[in-house]
Protein backbone atom coordinates (compact mmCIF):
# COMPACT_ATOMS: atom_id res chain seq x y z
CA UNK A 1 0.00 0.00 0.00
CA UNK A 2 1.65 3.19 -1.17
CA UNK A 3 1.70 6.48 0.65
CA UNK A 4 0.00 9.55 -0.73
CA UNK A 5 0.69 13.16 0.12
CA UNK A 6 -2.20 15.59 -0.01
CA UNK A 7 -2.97 19.03 1.35
CA UNK A 8 -5.88 19.62 3.68
CA UNK A 9 -6.57 23.24 4.60
CA UNK A 10 -3.05 24.13 3.50
CA UNK A 11 -1.36 21.48 5.65
CA UNK A 12 0.57 18.62 4.05
CA UNK A 13 -0.86 15.29 5.13
CA UNK A 14 0.44 11.81 4.51
CA UNK A 15 -2.11 9.06 3.88
CA UNK A 16 -2.33 5.50 2.65
CA UNK A 17 -3.35 5.11 -0.98
CA UNK A 18 -6.65 3.43 -0.14
CA UNK A 19 -7.75 5.93 2.51
CA UNK A 20 -10.65 8.27 2.11
CA UNK A 21 -10.28 12.00 2.60
CA UNK A 22 -12.31 11.61 5.80
CA UNK A 23 -9.97 8.98 7.22
CA UNK A 24 -6.88 10.96 6.28
CA UNK A 25 -8.31 14.13 7.81
CA UNK A 26 -9.31 12.44 11.06
CA UNK A 27 -5.90 10.81 11.41
CA UNK A 28 -4.38 14.26 11.01
CA UNK A 29 -6.67 15.68 13.69
CA UNK A 30 -8.88 17.61 11.27
CA UNK A 31 -12.52 17.10 12.06
CA UNK A 32 -15.17 16.93 9.36
CA UNK A 33 -18.77 16.52 10.53
CA UNK A 34 -20.56 13.33 9.54
CA UNK A 35 -23.85 11.60 10.32
CA UNK A 36 -24.43 8.70 7.93
CA UNK A 37 -20.83 7.50 8.32
CA UNK A 38 -20.01 4.87 10.95
CA UNK A 39 -16.67 3.10 11.22
CA UNK A 40 -17.17 -0.53 10.28
CA UNK A 41 -20.08 0.08 7.91
CA UNK A 42 -20.11 0.81 4.19
CA UNK A 43 -20.29 4.44 3.05
CA UNK A 44 -23.41 5.91 1.51
CA UNK A 45 -22.54 9.59 1.23
CA UNK A 46 -26.15 10.42 2.06
CA UNK A 47 -26.08 13.11 4.73
CA UNK A 48 -23.90 15.51 2.67
CA UNK A 49 -22.36 16.95 5.83
CA UNK A 50 -18.85 15.78 5.00
CA UNK A 51 -18.76 17.57 1.62
CA UNK A 52 -15.39 19.19 0.97
CA UNK A 53 -13.96 21.43 -1.73
CA UNK A 54 -11.32 19.77 -3.87
CA UNK A 55 -9.18 21.90 -6.18
CA UNK A 56 -9.89 21.12 -9.82
CA UNK A 57 -13.44 19.91 -9.22
CA UNK A 58 -16.34 22.36 -9.54
CA UNK A 59 -18.56 20.06 -7.45
CA UNK A 60 -18.32 19.41 -3.74
CA UNK A 61 -17.23 15.86 -2.92
CA UNK A 62 -18.19 13.71 0.09
CA UNK A 63 -15.02 13.13 2.11
CA UNK A 64 -16.29 9.76 3.34
CA UNK A 65 -16.51 8.37 -0.16
CA UNK A 66 -13.55 10.07 -1.90
CA UNK A 67 -10.23 8.25 -2.02
CA UNK A 68 -7.13 10.39 -1.58
CA UNK A 69 -4.94 11.04 -4.60
CA UNK A 70 -1.39 12.33 -4.76
CA UNK A 71 -1.29 16.11 -4.66
CA UNK A 72 -4.98 16.50 -3.87
CA UNK A 73 -5.86 19.90 -2.38
CA UNK A 74 -8.77 19.80 0.01
CA UNK A 75 -10.57 22.55 1.87
CA UNK A 76 -12.84 21.43 4.69
CA UNK A 77 -13.85 24.63 6.44
CA UNK A 78 -14.63 27.35 3.92
CA UNK A 79 -17.50 29.79 4.67
CA UNK A 80 -19.58 28.11 1.97
CA UNK A 81 -19.12 24.66 3.49
CA UNK A 82 -19.90 25.95 6.96
CA UNK A 83 -23.07 27.62 5.72
CA UNK A 84 -24.24 24.47 3.93
CA UNK A 85 -23.56 22.29 6.98
CA UNK A 86 -25.51 24.60 9.21
CA UNK A 87 -28.41 24.60 6.75
CA UNK A 88 -28.44 20.79 6.53
CA UNK A 89 -28.57 20.41 10.31
CA UNK A 90 -31.36 23.00 10.51
CA UNK A 91 -33.28 21.12 7.82
CA UNK A 92 -32.97 17.96 9.93
CA UNK A 93 -34.32 19.63 13.04
CA UNK A 94 -37.23 21.03 11.06
CA UNK A 95 -37.98 17.75 9.30
CA UNK A 96 -39.28 15.60 12.15
CA UNK A 97 -40.04 16.10 15.82
CA UNK A 98 -36.69 16.28 17.61
CA UNK A 99 -37.51 17.22 21.18
CA UNK A 100 -34.37 16.84 23.27
CA UNK A 101 -36.12 17.58 26.55
CA UNK A 102 -38.00 14.27 26.51
CA UNK A 103 -35.44 12.14 24.67
CA UNK A 104 -33.51 9.21 26.12
CA UNK A 105 -30.45 10.16 24.08
CA UNK A 106 -30.23 13.77 25.20
CA UNK A 107 -26.62 14.51 26.06
CA UNK A 108 -25.36 11.54 24.06
CA UNK A 109 -26.83 12.31 20.68
CA UNK A 110 -24.90 12.88 17.46
CA UNK A 111 -27.60 15.18 16.11
CA UNK A 112 -27.34 17.37 19.20
CA UNK A 113 -23.56 17.38 18.91
CA UNK A 114 -23.82 18.38 15.25
CA UNK A 115 -26.03 21.32 16.18
CA UNK A 116 -23.36 22.46 18.61
CA UNK A 117 -20.53 21.85 16.13
CA UNK A 118 -22.13 23.82 13.28
CA UNK A 119 -23.15 26.65 15.56
CA UNK A 120 -26.90 26.20 15.18
CA UNK A 121 -28.48 28.89 17.29
CA UNK A 122 -31.93 28.62 15.73
CA UNK A 123 -33.78 26.96 12.89
CA UNK A 124 -34.73 29.29 10.06
CA UNK A 125 -37.02 26.80 8.34
CA UNK A 126 -40.62 26.02 9.18
CA UNK A 127 -41.06 22.91 11.33
CA UNK A 128 -42.86 20.27 9.28
CA UNK A 129 -44.23 18.41 12.34
CA UNK A 130 -45.08 15.16 10.54
CA UNK A 131 -47.13 12.45 12.16
CA UNK A 132 -44.54 9.84 13.15
CA UNK A 133 -45.14 6.67 15.14
CA UNK A 134 -43.41 4.88 17.99
CA UNK A 135 -43.04 1.08 17.86
CA UNK A 136 -42.43 -0.68 21.16
CA UNK A 137 -43.68 -4.08 20.12
CA UNK A 138 -40.20 -5.60 20.63
CA UNK A 139 -39.45 -6.87 24.13
CA UNK A 140 -36.03 -5.18 24.44
CA UNK A 141 -36.01 -2.26 22.02
CA UNK A 142 -38.17 0.42 20.53
CA UNK A 143 -38.09 2.85 17.64
CA UNK A 144 -39.38 6.40 17.74
CA UNK A 145 -39.63 7.62 14.15
CA UNK A 146 -39.90 11.22 15.36
CA UNK A 147 -36.18 11.06 16.13
CA UNK A 148 -35.03 9.23 13.01
CA UNK A 149 -32.80 11.09 10.55
CA UNK A 150 -32.81 8.33 7.88
CA UNK A 151 -29.06 7.91 8.13
CA UNK A 152 -29.57 4.16 7.40
CA UNK A 153 -26.83 3.15 9.85
CA UNK A 154 -29.26 0.66 11.38
CA UNK A 155 -29.98 -0.83 7.96
CA UNK A 156 -26.31 -1.24 7.17
CA UNK A 157 -25.36 -2.55 10.62
CA UNK A 158 -28.09 -5.16 10.50
CA UNK A 159 -27.31 -6.17 6.93
CA UNK A 160 -23.51 -5.99 6.91
CA UNK A 161 -22.53 -6.92 10.45
CA UNK A 162 -25.35 -9.06 11.83
CA UNK A 163 -26.23 -10.32 8.38
CA UNK A 164 -29.99 -10.70 8.80
CA UNK A 165 -31.18 -7.52 7.07
CA UNK A 166 -34.15 -6.93 9.32
CA UNK A 167 -34.09 -3.19 8.75
CA UNK A 168 -34.77 -1.60 5.38
CA UNK A 169 -36.42 1.50 3.94
CA UNK A 170 -39.94 1.97 2.65
CA UNK A 171 -41.49 5.01 1.05
CA UNK A 172 -39.96 7.90 -0.81
CA UNK A 173 -38.67 11.33 -0.04
CA UNK A 174 -39.59 12.78 3.29
CA UNK A 175 -42.24 10.07 3.71
CA UNK A 176 -39.56 7.36 3.83
CA UNK A 177 -39.42 5.27 7.00
CA UNK A 178 -37.11 2.56 8.23
CA UNK A 179 -39.05 -0.66 8.53
CA UNK A 180 -38.51 -4.13 9.95
CA UNK A 181 -39.02 -7.09 7.62
CA UNK A 182 -41.95 -6.36 5.30
CA UNK A 183 -43.16 -3.42 7.37
CA UNK A 184 -44.38 -5.48 10.30
CA UNK A 185 -44.13 -4.34 13.93
CA UNK A 186 -40.58 -4.90 15.19
CA UNK A 187 -41.78 -7.47 17.73
CA UNK A 188 -43.18 -9.54 14.86
CA UNK A 189 -40.09 -9.29 12.65
CA UNK A 190 -38.97 -12.92 12.62
CA UNK A 191 -35.60 -12.14 11.05
CA UNK A 192 -34.54 -10.01 14.04
CA UNK A 193 -32.00 -11.66 16.33
CA UNK A 194 -32.27 -9.00 19.06
CA UNK A 195 -28.53 -8.48 18.81
CA UNK A 196 -28.80 -4.74 19.43
CA UNK A 197 -26.36 -3.65 16.71
CA UNK A 198 -28.95 -1.27 15.31
CA UNK A 199 -29.20 0.26 18.78
CA UNK A 200 -25.43 0.75 18.78
CA UNK A 201 -25.50 2.22 15.31
CA UNK A 202 -28.31 4.73 15.76
CA UNK A 203 -26.93 8.27 16.16
CA UNK A 204 -30.05 9.66 17.81
CA UNK A 205 -32.61 8.39 20.27
CA UNK A 206 -34.69 6.85 17.49
CA UNK A 207 -33.72 3.26 18.30
CA UNK A 208 -33.62 2.87 22.04
CA UNK A 209 -33.57 0.15 24.66
CA UNK A 210 -36.83 -0.09 26.51
CA UNK A 211 -36.66 0.98 30.10
CA UNK A 212 -34.25 3.88 29.73
CA UNK A 213 -35.61 7.29 30.63
CA UNK A 214 -34.71 10.78 29.54
CA UNK A 215 -30.98 11.26 28.90
CA UNK A 216 -30.11 7.76 30.09
CA UNK A 217 -29.32 6.15 26.73
CA UNK A 218 -25.58 5.86 26.21
CA UNK A 219 -24.11 3.64 23.54
CA UNK A 220 -20.64 2.95 22.27
CA UNK A 221 -21.03 2.89 18.50
CA UNK A 222 -17.36 2.01 18.11
CA UNK A 223 -18.21 -1.52 19.19
CA UNK A 224 -19.41 -2.12 15.65
CA UNK A 225 -16.01 -1.21 14.25
CA UNK A 226 -14.42 -3.47 16.87
CA UNK A 227 -16.58 -6.43 15.83
CA UNK A 228 -15.80 -5.86 12.15
CA UNK A 229 -12.07 -5.52 12.83
CA UNK A 230 -12.07 -8.65 14.98
CA UNK A 231 -13.71 -10.65 12.22
CA UNK A 232 -11.46 -9.27 9.48
CA UNK A 233 -8.26 -9.78 11.39
CA UNK A 234 -9.38 -13.02 13.03
CA UNK A 235 -8.51 -12.14 16.61
Amino acid sequence: MAARTLTINGTLISARSNETVLEAAREAGISIPTLCHLDGLSEVGACRLCLVEIAGSPKLQPACHTTVTEGMEVQTDTPRLKAHRRAIVELLFAERNHICAVCVASGHCELQQLAVDVGMSHVRYEYLSPDCSVDISHARFGIDHNRCVLCTRCVRACDEVEGVHTWDLAGRGTNARVITDLNVPWGEATSCTSCGKCLLACPTGAIFSRGSTVAELERDASRIATIVAARNERW
Binding site: A46, V149, L150
Partner: protein
Protein backbone atom coordinates in the same frame (compact mmCIF):
# COMPACT_ATOMS: atom_id res chain seq x y z
CA UNK B 1 -22.61 23.82 -33.45
CA UNK B 2 -22.01 20.76 -31.40
CA UNK B 3 -25.69 19.94 -31.55
CA UNK B 4 -26.26 18.09 -34.78
CA UNK B 5 -29.28 16.70 -36.54
CA UNK B 6 -32.84 17.18 -35.38
CA UNK B 7 -34.67 17.32 -32.06
CA UNK B 8 -38.17 16.22 -31.19
CA UNK B 9 -40.18 18.62 -29.03
CA UNK B 10 -43.50 18.14 -27.31
CA UNK B 11 -45.09 21.54 -27.90
CA UNK B 12 -47.90 22.37 -25.54
CA UNK B 13 -49.43 25.12 -23.45
CA UNK B 14 -50.95 28.37 -24.71
CA UNK B 15 -50.28 27.62 -28.37
CA UNK B 16 -52.56 26.96 -31.32
CA UNK B 17 -50.84 23.80 -32.64
CA UNK B 18 -49.86 21.33 -29.91
CA UNK B 19 -48.18 18.01 -30.38
CA UNK B 20 -44.88 16.46 -31.28
CA UNK B 21 -42.63 18.27 -33.73
CA UNK B 22 -39.22 17.44 -35.12
CA UNK B 23 -37.04 20.45 -35.91
CA UNK B 24 -33.44 20.91 -37.03
CA UNK B 25 -31.05 21.93 -34.27
CA UNK B 26 -30.49 25.66 -34.48
CA UNK B 27 -34.06 26.64 -35.37
CA UNK B 28 -35.03 29.55 -33.13
CA UNK B 29 -37.65 29.38 -30.40
CA UNK B 30 -39.59 32.14 -32.17
CA UNK B 31 -39.84 30.06 -35.34
CA UNK B 32 -41.06 27.07 -33.36
CA UNK B 33 -43.64 28.98 -31.33
CA UNK B 34 -44.95 31.36 -34.01
CA UNK B 35 -44.57 29.46 -37.26
CA UNK B 36 -44.93 25.84 -36.25
CA UNK B 37 -47.01 26.51 -33.15
CA UNK B 38 -49.10 29.23 -34.69
CA UNK B 39 -48.79 31.54 -31.69
CA UNK B 40 -51.34 31.74 -28.88
CA UNK B 41 -54.90 30.58 -29.67
CA UNK B 42 -56.47 33.96 -28.95
CA UNK B 43 -53.60 36.09 -30.18
CA UNK B 44 -52.46 37.39 -26.78
CA UNK B 45 -48.71 38.01 -26.60
CA UNK B 46 -46.50 35.06 -25.69
CA UNK B 47 -44.71 35.58 -22.39
CA UNK B 48 -42.15 32.82 -22.68
CA UNK B 49 -41.59 29.11 -22.94
CA UNK B 50 -40.57 26.51 -20.40
CA UNK B 51 -38.24 23.79 -21.64
CA UNK B 52 -36.84 20.68 -20.01
CA UNK B 53 -39.62 19.96 -17.58
CA UNK B 54 -39.01 20.03 -13.80
CA UNK B 55 -35.25 20.23 -14.35
CA UNK B 56 -35.49 23.01 -16.87
CA UNK B 57 -36.05 26.72 -16.99
CA UNK B 58 -38.09 29.47 -18.55
CA UNK B 59 -37.03 31.55 -21.50
CA UNK B 60 -38.74 34.93 -21.87
CA UNK B 61 -40.09 36.22 -25.19
CA UNK B 62 -37.23 38.71 -25.39
CA UNK B 63 -34.83 35.79 -25.88
CA UNK B 64 -36.91 33.95 -28.48
CA UNK B 65 -34.22 34.39 -31.13
CA UNK B 66 -32.16 31.88 -29.16
CA UNK B 67 -31.48 28.85 -31.36
CA UNK B 68 -32.64 25.55 -30.03
CA UNK B 69 -29.48 23.59 -29.25
CA UNK B 70 -27.88 22.22 -26.10
CA UNK B 71 -25.35 25.00 -25.51
CA UNK B 72 -27.62 27.96 -26.27
CA UNK B 73 -30.39 26.75 -24.00
CA UNK B 74 -27.91 26.17 -21.19
CA UNK B 75 -26.58 29.70 -21.63
CA UNK B 76 -29.99 31.25 -21.02
CA UNK B 77 -30.51 29.10 -17.96
CA UNK B 78 -32.58 26.23 -19.27
CA UNK B 79 -31.95 22.78 -20.70
CA UNK B 80 -33.11 20.75 -23.66
CA UNK B 81 -34.13 17.84 -21.47
CA UNK B 82 -36.38 15.34 -23.17
CA UNK B 83 -37.91 18.01 -25.36
CA UNK B 84 -40.82 19.42 -23.41
CA UNK B 85 -41.73 22.98 -24.47
CA UNK B 86 -44.59 24.73 -22.73
CA UNK B 87 -45.77 28.02 -24.20
CA UNK B 88 -46.93 30.65 -21.70
CA UNK B 89 -48.89 33.86 -22.14
CA UNK B 90 -49.66 36.88 -19.97
CA UNK B 91 -52.16 34.89 -17.89
CA UNK B 92 -49.51 32.40 -16.78
CA UNK B 93 -48.44 32.84 -13.16
CA UNK B 94 -44.69 32.20 -13.09
CA UNK B 95 -44.62 31.55 -9.34
CA UNK B 96 -47.26 28.87 -9.87
CA UNK B 97 -45.11 27.33 -12.61
CA UNK B 98 -42.14 27.10 -10.24
CA UNK B 99 -44.38 25.71 -7.49
CA UNK B 100 -45.86 23.11 -9.86
CA UNK B 101 -42.44 21.81 -10.85
CA UNK B 102 -41.18 21.86 -7.27
CA UNK B 103 -44.13 19.69 -6.23
CA UNK B 104 -42.98 17.13 -8.78
CA UNK B 105 -39.40 17.15 -7.47
CA UNK B 106 -40.62 16.91 -3.89
CA UNK B 107 -42.81 13.90 -4.72
CA UNK B 108 -40.10 12.16 -6.74
CA UNK B 109 -37.22 12.74 -4.33
CA UNK B 110 -35.83 9.35 -3.32
CA UNK B 111 -35.12 10.46 0.25
CA UNK B 112 -31.51 9.40 0.52
CA UNK B 113 -29.91 12.81 0.93
CA UNK B 114 -31.07 15.45 3.37
CA UNK B 115 -30.92 18.60 1.20
CA UNK B 116 -33.21 17.22 -1.52
CA UNK B 117 -35.48 15.13 0.67
CA UNK B 118 -36.50 17.89 2.99
CA UNK B 119 -35.20 20.90 1.07
CA UNK B 120 -37.71 20.33 -1.73
CA UNK B 121 -40.49 20.20 0.86
CA UNK B 122 -39.34 23.49 2.36
CA UNK B 123 -39.06 25.08 -1.08
CA UNK B 124 -42.53 23.86 -2.05
CA UNK B 125 -43.98 25.31 1.14
CA UNK B 126 -42.22 28.62 0.56
CA UNK B 127 -43.47 28.78 -3.03
CA UNK B 128 -47.00 28.04 -1.77
CA UNK B 129 -46.63 30.78 0.81
CA UNK B 130 -45.43 33.25 -1.82
CA UNK B 131 -48.22 32.25 -4.17
CA UNK B 132 -50.77 32.82 -1.43
CA UNK B 133 -49.42 36.29 -0.76
CA UNK B 134 -48.28 35.34 2.74
CA UNK B 135 -44.50 35.40 2.31
CA UNK B 136 -42.04 38.08 3.33
CA UNK B 137 -38.78 39.21 1.74
CA UNK B 138 -37.01 36.98 4.28
CA UNK B 139 -38.93 33.98 2.91
CA UNK B 140 -37.76 34.82 -0.60
CA UNK B 141 -34.19 35.03 0.67
CA UNK B 142 -34.58 31.60 2.31
CA UNK B 143 -35.95 30.22 -0.96
CA UNK B 144 -32.88 31.48 -2.81
CA UNK B 145 -30.58 30.10 -0.14
CA UNK B 146 -32.24 26.68 -0.50
CA UNK B 147 -31.69 26.89 -4.27
CA UNK B 148 -27.94 27.19 -3.68
CA UNK B 149 -27.96 24.44 -1.05
CA UNK B 150 -29.76 21.91 -3.23
CA UNK B 151 -27.74 22.73 -6.31
CA UNK B 152 -24.40 22.39 -4.55
CA UNK B 153 -24.99 19.62 -2.03
CA UNK B 154 -27.58 17.23 -3.45
CA UNK B 155 -26.44 13.69 -4.12
CA UNK B 156 -27.94 13.39 -7.59
CA UNK B 157 -29.23 15.36 -10.54
CA UNK B 158 -32.81 15.47 -9.28
CA UNK B 159 -31.92 17.55 -6.26
CA UNK B 160 -29.25 19.47 -8.14
CA UNK B 161 -31.69 20.57 -10.86
CA UNK B 162 -34.81 20.96 -8.71
CA UNK B 163 -33.95 24.65 -8.18
CA UNK B 164 -33.81 25.30 -11.94
CA UNK B 165 -37.43 26.40 -12.46
CA UNK B 166 -37.22 28.59 -9.35
CA UNK B 167 -33.92 30.23 -10.27
CA UNK B 168 -34.97 30.64 -13.87
CA UNK B 169 -38.28 32.31 -13.06
CA UNK B 170 -36.53 34.52 -10.50
CA UNK B 171 -33.98 35.51 -13.14
CA UNK B 172 -36.51 36.61 -15.75
CA UNK B 173 -39.73 37.22 -13.82
CA UNK B 174 -38.57 38.35 -10.40
CA UNK B 175 -41.23 41.10 -10.28
CA UNK B 176 -43.94 38.43 -10.21
CA UNK B 177 -42.48 37.08 -6.97
CA UNK B 178 -41.89 40.48 -5.41
CA UNK B 179 -45.37 41.69 -6.26
CA UNK B 180 -46.75 38.90 -4.08
CA UNK B 181 -44.62 39.61 -1.02
CA UNK B 182 -46.03 41.08 2.13
CA UNK B 183 -44.54 44.52 2.54
CA UNK B 184 -44.32 44.61 6.31
CA UNK B 185 -44.14 42.00 9.01
CA UNK B 186 -46.75 42.63 11.66
CA UNK B 187 -46.03 41.26 15.10
CA UNK B 188 -49.19 40.40 16.97
CA UNK B 189 -48.51 40.68 20.68
CA UNK B 190 -51.92 39.43 21.76
CA UNK B 191 -52.34 35.74 22.42
CA UNK B 192 -53.56 33.58 19.54
Amino acid sequence: ERSKGTKVFALTGKVRNTGLIEVPMGMTIREIVEELGGGTPDGTPVKGVQTGGPSGGCIPEALFDTPVDYESLAEVGSIMGSGGMVVMDATTNMVEIARFYMEFCMDESCGKCIPCRTGTVQMYRLLSKISAGQATAADLATLEQLCHLLRETSLCGLGQSAPNPVQSTLRYFREEYERLLRKRVTINLTSR
